[in-house]
C-alpha cells in the first residue's frame, strides 16, 4: 500500500527537516532543549543577542549551525541526485557517482591536500576535478555525435576507476606523517571542517542544482522510458539529459568538495521514498529532498556526539544504512520497483 501524497503528507515532509534540525542543534557536549535552541536561533534572527548566554550563542552560530546547514544541503542534494540518475539511466542501482564525479572530486581534494593548499582552495580544486571527470565521461561516451545511456554509464565507470587510481597515486607519494592521514580522513567524509566561507561557495550550486531537478521532476518519468519513446512524447531528450546531468553533477561535486565522500545516501534514500510513495518522480523527488536532509542530520549528529572522537560519516552511513536497507529489502522482496 502506497502512502498518498496529499497536503498533510506534504506539510509533514516540509516540517520534518526543520524539526530534526532544531533537535540536532541542541545535541552535543553543550546540550540544549528544543526551546532553548529555538530561542538562541530566534535571537540571531531578531538581533537581540543580549537575551541569551554568549556561550550558547557561540556554540549554535559558530559551531553547530554551519554543520546543520551543510548536513541539510548534502543529504537532500545527494538523495535527489541519486533519484535523478536512477530515472535518467533507467537503473535502480545508479548513484550520484555513476559518472565519476565523486572520484574526480576526491582526486581534486587529495591533490589539493598534497600541495598543502588552504582549505578553500582544496574545495575549489575538488569541485573543478569533479566537473572535469563528468565532462570527460560524457565526451568519451559520444560516438559519432551520439551517446547512448549504456555508453555514458560505461565511460563513467572507466573515468571513475581512472581517477580512483590517481587518488591512490597521490596517497602513495604523500608524506605519511601528516598528509596521508589528512587525505585518508578527508576521503572517509566529515562535516567537521565546514566554514561559512566554504558554504558560500558550495551552497548556491547545491541549491541551484536541486531546484533544477525539482522543477524537472515530472519529466524524469519520461526520461526513464526508452529514448525513442521519450522523444515521441515531445521531449528534447538530449537537452533534458544534459540539464539533469549538469544539475546532479554540480550538487554532488559541491557536496564532495565540502565534506568528502559520503556514500549510500544517494542510493538508500530514493529507494526508501520509492517504497513509501511509489515510483512517480513527481513525488519521489520532493520526498527524497526532505528525507535525505533528515537522514544526514541524524547521521552527522551521531558522528559528532556519539563518541568523544569524531566518527567519519561514510562509516556511519554504511553501517546504519546497509542493515536498514537489507531489512527493508527482505521485508518487501524489492516489490516497490
Amino acid at each position: 500500500m502506497k502512502a498518498p501524497y496529499n497536503l498533510p503528507v506534504r506539510a509533514l515532509l516540509a516540517v520534518l527537516p526543520i524539526l530534526t534540525a532544531l533537535v540536532c542543534i541542541g545535541i552535543g557536549r553543550y546540550s540544549m532543549s528544543v526551546t532553548e535552541s529555538f530561542t538562541v536561533l530566534w535571537s540571531g534572527i531578531t538581533g537581540k543577542t543580549y537575551a541569551v548566554s554568549p556561550q550558547a550563542w557561540s556554540v549554535v552560530f559558530n559551531i553547530r549551525l554551519p554543520r546543520i546547514l551543510l548536513a541539510i544541503l548534502c543529504g537532500s542534494g545527494l538523495a535527489v541526485s541519486g533519484a535523478a540518475f536512477q530515472a535518467l539511466f533507467t537503473n535502480p542501482l545508479a548513484t550520484p557517482d555513476t559518472l565519476g564525479v565523486a572520484s574526480g572530486a576526491s582526486f581534486g581534494a587529495a591533490f589539493g591536500l598534497l600541495l598543502g593548499l588552504p582549505s578553500i582552495f582544496v574545495q575549489i580544486s575538488s569541485l573543478a576535478f569533479g566537473l572535469a571527470a563528468v565532462s570527460l565521461s560524457y565526451s568519451v561516451s559520444r560516438v559519432r555525435g551520439k551517446s547512448s545511456i549504456i555508453m555514458v554509464v560505461l565511460s563513467g565507470l572507466v573515468v571513475s576507476s581512472m581517477f580512483n587510481a590517481f587518488v591512490s597515486l597521490v596517497k602513495y607519494v604523500a608524506d605519511p606523517e601528516n598528509q596521508l592521514p589528512a587525505i585518508t580522513y578527508w576521503l572517509m567524509g566529515s562535516l567537521a571542517s565546514v566554514s561559512y566561507r566554504g558554504l558560500a561557495i558550495g551552497a548556491p550550486l547545491i541549491i541551484a542544482g536541486v531546484a533544477l531537478i525539482f522543477t524537472l521532476r515530472w519529466k524524469l518519468n519520461i526520461l526513464s522510458l526508452n529514448e525513442d519513446e521519450a522523444k515521441s512524447m515531445g521531449v528534447n531528450v538530449k537537452v533534458m539529459r544534459a540539464g539533469v546531468i549538469t544539475a546532479a553533477t554540480l550538487v554532488t561535486g559541491s557536496t564532495v568538495a565540502m565534506c568528502g565522500q559520503v556514500g549510500w545516501v544517494g542510493l538508500l534514500i530514493p529507494h526508501i521514498c520509492r517504497m513509501i510513495f511509489g515510483g512517480n518522480n513527481r513525488y519521489l523527488v520532493p520526498a527524497s529532498i526532505s528525507l535525505g536532509a533528515v537522514f544526514m542530520l541524524v547521521i552527522d549528529t551521531v558522528a559528532r556526539a556519539a563518541t568523544s572522537a569524531e566518527v567519519p560519516v561514510s562509516i556511519l552511513t554504511a553501517t546504519i544504512g546497509a542493515p536498514f536497507f537489507v531489512i527493508l529489502l527482505r521485508r518487501t522482496g524489492g516489490s516497490w520497483l
Binding site: 533507467t90 524537472l216 515530472w218 526513464s224 522510458l225 525513442d228 522523444k231 512524447m233 511509489g278 520497483l337
Partner: protein, 265 residues
C-alpha cells in the same frame, strides 16, 4: 491531415539499402498496414517516417510540410507513437503512465495539471481501461499494457497513431480487441493509424491500405484489397497462400491460409 512519404530511402551503416524508394500516403480516418517478412525493415520504416531515424534521401510530409521543418513539440502533438509493449524498470500506475502522453502539451518546467488528468481519464475511457487506473504497469498482462500504451498515445490528442506490432505478442481475444480499437479510432475519431503486423489477415480485416515490404527493399503500396493478394504474398514472404472469403451469418470474413514455403527461384 495527410501524412505522406515521398521517394524515401534508408540504410544502416555498412549495409545494403534496407528501404528503397518508399512512397505512400495516409489520410484522416485511413488505416495503413505495413506487412513484410522479418528483417524487411518494418520497425525501421515506422521510426524513419516519424523522424526518430532520419531518411538518407526523401522526406516525410504532413500536409505538404516536411516534418523536419515542424517544431518537435508541434510534431508530437500530431503524431503519437505506440511502441512494442515492454515492461519498464520502474513501475508507474496506469494513470501516471497515460498522463505522460500529455508531455508535448506541457512545458519543460511544468507539471501536469487537472486538465491533463482529465485528458488522460478520457483516453483511458476510450480504450476501456478505466478500471485499471491504479494498477501498476509492472503487474500487467501484455494485453493490458498494450491498451495502456494506446491510451497514453491518445492522451496527446493526436491526428495520427503509429503502432509498432500492436497485436503480435497477444492472444486471440486481445488481438481482436486491439484491431477493433484501431478500426474504431479511425472510423469515429478520424485518426489515421499506421501499424505493422505479421498477419496479412489482420491487414485485410482492419486496414484500408497496405504497404508491403520485401526483403530486397522493394515496396508495394495500394488499397489493401488490391495489394494483399496471393501473388504479392508469395513475392514478399516466399509463401504460397490461399486467400478466401467466408460468409458467416450476414458478414463476410477473409482468411489467409498459408499453404507452403515457395521455392524462391
Amino acid at each position: 491531415m495527410i501524412f505522406s512519404v515521398k521517394k524515401a530511402s534508408f540504410s544502416y551503416k555498412y549495409d545494403a539499402s534496407v528501404l528503397k524508394d518508399i512512397s505512400f500516403s495516409v489520410e484522416s480516418g485511413q488505416v495503413l498496414a505495413v506487412l513484410g517478412p522479418n528483417g524487411a525493415g518494418k520497425t525501421t520504416l515506422l521510426k524513419c517516417m516519424m523522424g526518430l531515424l532520419s531518411w538518407n534521401s526523401g522526406t516525410s510530409f504532413i500536409d505538404e510540410t516536411p516534418i523536419s521543418r515542424i517544431h518537435y513539440r508541434d510534431l508530437w502533438k500530431k503524431i503519437a507513437y505506440v511502441p512494442q509493449a515492454k515492461n519498464s524498470v520502474f513501475s508507474y500506475s496506469t494513470e501516471e503512465m497515460v498522463v505522460m502522453g500529455r508531455s508535448a502539451h506541457i512545458g519543460a518546467f511544468r507539471q501536469p495539471g487537472p486538465e491533463d488528468y482529465e485528458c488522460a481519464g478520457q483516453a483511458m475511457e476510450e480504450v476501456g481501461i478505466t478500471h485499471l487506473k491504479d494498477k501498476s504497469c509492472s503487474e500487467m498482462s501484455g494485453g493490458e499494457l498494450q491498451m495502456v500504451l494506446i491510451a497514453r498515445a491518445l492522451a496527446a490528442r493526436p491526428s495520427m497513431l503509429v503502432l509498432d506490432e500492436p497485436e503480435s505478442n497477444l492472444d486471440f481475444k486481445n488481438q481482436l480487441i486491439i484491431l477493433e480499437t484501431i478500426e474504431c479510432l479511425a472510423r469515429e475519431r478520424r485518426i489515421s493509424c499506421v501499424f505493422n503486423t505479421h498477419y496479412p489477415a489482420h491487414a485485410l480485416k482492419t486496414a484500408s491500405h497496405a504497404l508491403i515490404l520485401t526483403r530486397d527493399g522493394e515496396s508495394i503500396f495500394g488499397p489493401v484489397q488490391e495489394v494483399v493478394n496471393e501473388e504479392n504474398m508469395r513475392r514478399a514472404f516466399d509463401v504460397n497462400v490461399h486467400i478466401n472469403e467466408v460468409e458467416i451469418g450476414r458478414k463476410s470474413y477473409i482468411s489467409v491460409l498459408a499453404l507452403s514455403v515457395a521455392d524462391s527461384a
